[in-house]
């Protein structure tokens, strides 16, 4: 007797029994008689077998009739939200580069609600394989118009047929994606005849093999029958795919760069966790390392609340940051809050700095002890909230004669002019900082100089900033009225004692 050998039979990439199905017979799929999904799932299984990648395969199935892929294919399965499979697949593939990630999507999913996700996954050249089932209709929800519904085709939401003047034209996804540089393989096939089905089998296998070879983004659009919703018998539906759909969606390869595509380089091997503090610039600030700086008890009762303000580009933020950094070095509890949000908006750049003896209750300065105003608009903007006794340092030759509240300790420092003479008007912020230090005595100038040495890496700028800082101190001594130089007068009420709260 001659022997019989199976040449085409149930793929081992299918579960033997579909016991993930929640209803219906576990021996059958949920697909309708003659459904293209069934055929395509089979082609997919056969490709997985042929490439020997069942263990490595991760199938992402979003919403639509494709949602139940996980009931049939014995591979890693992730069910995804409507349209989002390419985003989900992106992260799976990038997280596990050795996996073979297949995004299996219908036309509503991919071409309507998931348009952004597919275009951008393709544009990034994600090394995934997308199988796009185009049956020109919403199947699972019962026959509404799809973005690929043909002109004139009836659906439950185009009861008189798709009218391009009302509903637009069917979207040709492959042509759209072929405008992008990154995809390596874009192909449209059909399930409308024996010949088409065999071509589809080859295309699916190739699109997956591209991924196995480490190439980039591959997509196969599959024109697919939906006899139930179309109201045709399975053979008529197949004929419709063969004869009618390609008039709108021409079959063929729209992109093949597989010969020249360069595989994405593998991720560099990760560093040892012990190296992380160094990589993150946290040496001295992580548990188990030494160094760094910490607030100490040296300034009990101190509460400096500084607002610095000026035009963008005048270095107001840097002024605040240097102040906070130096404050931390000197043992203060500090906080620095940059211009942010309307309560600090004055058409200028500004920041709030607090240097406190105890934990900083709020980084927001509602009642400053000192205002450093680098221009007239910011002086005007902040004056209304200044209380009597507040120190105000203004960048000018003279204090404006009009409109100032009484009781301020206000003085002018020609910071821009001083900085300009030193080499650049952009160092005016450091002149003002020097004046502030001189007026308040809140920080030893040496601490601030050491901070500048550390923060400013460019030697020319560092020298300029240091010179500006010193010039600001001299200018304050020379030019500020005596009321501005009463150092202890601006110490505020003590802040709350003890270290800041920490979570349990």
């Amino acid at each position: 007797m001659p022997d019989l050998a199976v040449v085409h039979g149930r793929s081992p990439s299918f579960y033997a029994v579909f016991d993930r199905k929640e209803d219906g017979d576990p021996g059958q799929t949920h697909y309708c008689p003659g459904c293209g999904h069934g055929i395509l799932t089979k082609l997919l299984a056969e490709a997985i077998d042929a490439l020997g990648i069942q263990d490595r395969t991760v199938l992402v199935s979003p919403v639509g009739c494709s949602v139940f892929g996980y009931e049939y294919l014995d591979v890693g399965n992730i069910q995804a939200a409507h349209g989002r499979a390419p985003a989900v697949a992106t992260a799976v593939k990038r997280s596990r580069p050795d996996s073979i990630v297949i995004s299996y999507q219908g036309d509503g999913d991919l071409a309507a609600i998931g348009t952004a996700e597919i275009i951008h996954a393709a544009n990034r050249g994600e090394a995934i394989t997308v199988i796009f089932v185009n049956n020109a209709i919403y199947g699972m929800t019962g026959g509404q118009m799809a973005p690929t519904t043909l002109v004139g085709e009836r659906s439950t939401t185009t009861p008189w047929g798709r009218d391009p003047t009302v509903h637009g034209y069917p979207i040709r996804v492959c042509e759209l994606l072929a405008t992008l540089e990154a995809p390596v393989h874009i192909e449209r096939v059909g399930l409308g005849s024996n010949r088409q089905i065999m071509a589809a089998a080859r295309a699916v296998r190739r699109a997956i093999d591209n991924q196995v070879r480490g190439l980039g983004f591959s997509v196969v659009e599959v024109l697919s029958p939906c006899p139930t919703i179309w109201g045709l018998d399975p053979v008529e539906a197949q004929t419709f795919v063969r004869d009618t759909m390609p008039r709108t969606f021409p079959l063929g390869i729209l992109r093949d760069r597989t010969a020249t595509a360069v595989p994405r380089p593998p991720l560099p091997s990760p560093p040892d966790p012990a190296e992380l503090p160094g990589i993150l610039g946290l040496d001295g600030a992580t548990a188990g390392t030494t160094g760094g700086r910490a607030g100490g008890p040296r300034h009990a009762g101190a509460d400096h609340r500084i607002v610095a303000a000026g035009f963008g580009g005048q270095g107001v933020q840097v002024l605040g940051e240097v102040l906070a950094e130096a404050g931390l070095s000197a043992g203060y509890h500090v906080a620095w809050l940059p211009s942010y949000g309307p309560q600090m908006r004055s058409g200028t750049s500004n920041c709030h700095v607090r240097l406190c003896g105890g934990a900083v209750d709020s980084p927001l300065v509602s009642r400053p002890t000192a205002l450093v105003a680098l221009n007239q608009p910011s002086l005007r903007a902040f004056l209304p909230r200044m209380e009597p006794g507040t120190l105000v340092l203004f960048n000018a030759d003279a204090v404006p004669p009009d409109g100032l509240p009484r009781g301020l300790r206000i003085g002018a420092v020609p910071a821009t002019a001083i900085a300009d003479r030193l080499g650049s008007p952009r160092a005016a912020n450091m002149v003002m900082l020097g004046a502030l230090l001189e007026a308040t005595g809140m920080l030893a100038p040496g601490v601030v100089e050491a901070t500048l040495q550390r923060m400013v890496t460019d030697p020319a700028w560092r020298d300029l900033d240091l010179a500006a800082l010193r010039a600001g101190q001299r200018a304050a001594r020379r030019a500020l009225p005596a009321t501005c130089l009463h150092r202890t007068a601006i110490l505020g009420a003590p802040g709350p004692p003890g270290p800041g709260p920490r979570p349990s």
Partner: protein
């Protein structure tokens, strides 16, 4: 170990990486953009994955994929972006995937402003997506807490297989304060349910669809039991001078921080004030508020939204004590002075007729 002066939005990324986060998927939005920028800079240096997504919708679904692949993953956004992510929150919770989302809240509704607000409370704490699920929600008030609670967020996310949100108003991310960081942790082994594209994980399934009524009911009951467990174990708060308080202020994040100064100021005026600052907004420190109600005459809620947090305080109190509300909006942060006025005007005499046992 010392501390480093660092911006909140940068600290959150460094804390995440030290906690073993190796996937960040984000879309820029003020005032959370520096988080995405820091992630772009540091993730590649530690062997992690960074993708700038095409939208917040894509970003949260990338989290779904990364989490399904067994990686500690994170994203960050602010109000408008967080609204777009709500679909993903529901799927992540439904599929029981852990992830950490930072919401640096800004003013709303709509485009609102980029200033700090706390008006995402309902959306995040009560759940802005569909279905019976909760986010676990942590509320830092300082850069140090941002660090500590971000690390905790990853642990809670894994422990409960659920999204955890670090919820802060934008100013917390914008400010610079000294912070100390934990020692780096090795990247955790992928959990057994993850899908790695390997033989050992081939039969795993990440899924949120259960069409059979009994199956879905069982699944949601499982989630429910998980949330009840969290309610028992996870409430965290910072209590300040509540032992002898006759009025207690309740606020979180930046507002809560201002309240601490207000408590001190009120006490200087002779009002025995205390502070309850929730560090977890879900689960809410309900039991602690009930405990305080035994000895506290009245509660004052201060929030940067029009009365969202106050609902949880009222639910906890079940009408036992009066609750007054002070709010600031639009990017304004309450000041110590105005809170002091609120305490003096609304709270000092409130609940006077109620039976309150004498303090021990």
């Amino acid at each position: 170990m010392g501390a480093q002066l660092i911006k909140g939005n940068e600290a959150v990324v460094k804390a995440a990486l030290l906690a073993g986060c190796r996937g960040f998927y984000g879309y820029p939005i003020t005032p959370a953009s520096e988080i995405t920028e820091s992630a772009a800079r540091y993730l590649p240096l530690v062997g992690g994955v960074f993708v700038q997504a095409e939208s917040e919708v894509a970003a949260i679904n990338m989290l779904y994929g990364g989490a399904a692949a067994g990686v500690r993953v994170m994203t960050a956004s602010s109000g408008p972006g967080i609204s777009l992510m709500q679909e993903g929150f529901s799927y992540l919770a439904g599929a029981e995937l852990p992830c950490v989302v930072v919401d640096m809240m800004r003013g709303g509704p709509g485009l609102g402003s980029i200033g700090p607000e706390q008006a995402d409370y309902f959306q995040i704490v009560k759940g802005g997506g569909h279905g019976s699920y909760r986010n676990l929600v942590l509320a830092p008030a300082s850069v140090q807490e941002l660090v500590d609670l971000t690390v905790l967020a990853f642990d809670l996310a894994d422990r409960y297989r659920n999204p955890v949100v670090v919820l802060a108003d934008g100013s917390v991310g914008q400010m610079m304060e000294p912070a100390a960081f934990p020692a780096p942790r090795p990247v955790p082994e992928p959990p057994p349910w993850a899908i790695l594209g390997t033989a050992a994980t081939r039969t795993n399934l990440v899924n949120s669809i259960h069409l059979d009524p009994d199956r879905l009911e069982r699944h949601v009951r499982t989630l429910e039991a998980k949330y009840r467990r969290a309610e028992q174990r996870e409430p965290r708060w910072d209590g300040w001078r509540t032992e002898d308080a006759e009025v207690v202020l309740v606020g979180y994040g930046m507002a809560g921080r201002v309240l601490r100064a207000a408590v001190e100021a009120a006490r200087r005026r002779g009002i025995r004030a205390g502070l309850l600052r929730p560090l977890t907004l879900y689960p809410f420190p309900t039991a602690e508020i009930r405990r305080l109600a035994a000895t506290v005459r009245a509660f004052g809620v201060v929030e940067m939204s029009t009365g969202q947090l106050i609902e949880d305080v009222r639910l906890a109190l079940e009408g036992r004590r009066p609750v007054e509300l002070h709010t600031r909006l639009g990017g304004n942060i309450p000041t110590t002075e105005e809170v002091l006025d609120f305490v003096a005007e609304k709270l000092a005499g409130a609940g006077a007729g109620l039976e309150v046992p004498a303090h021990a």
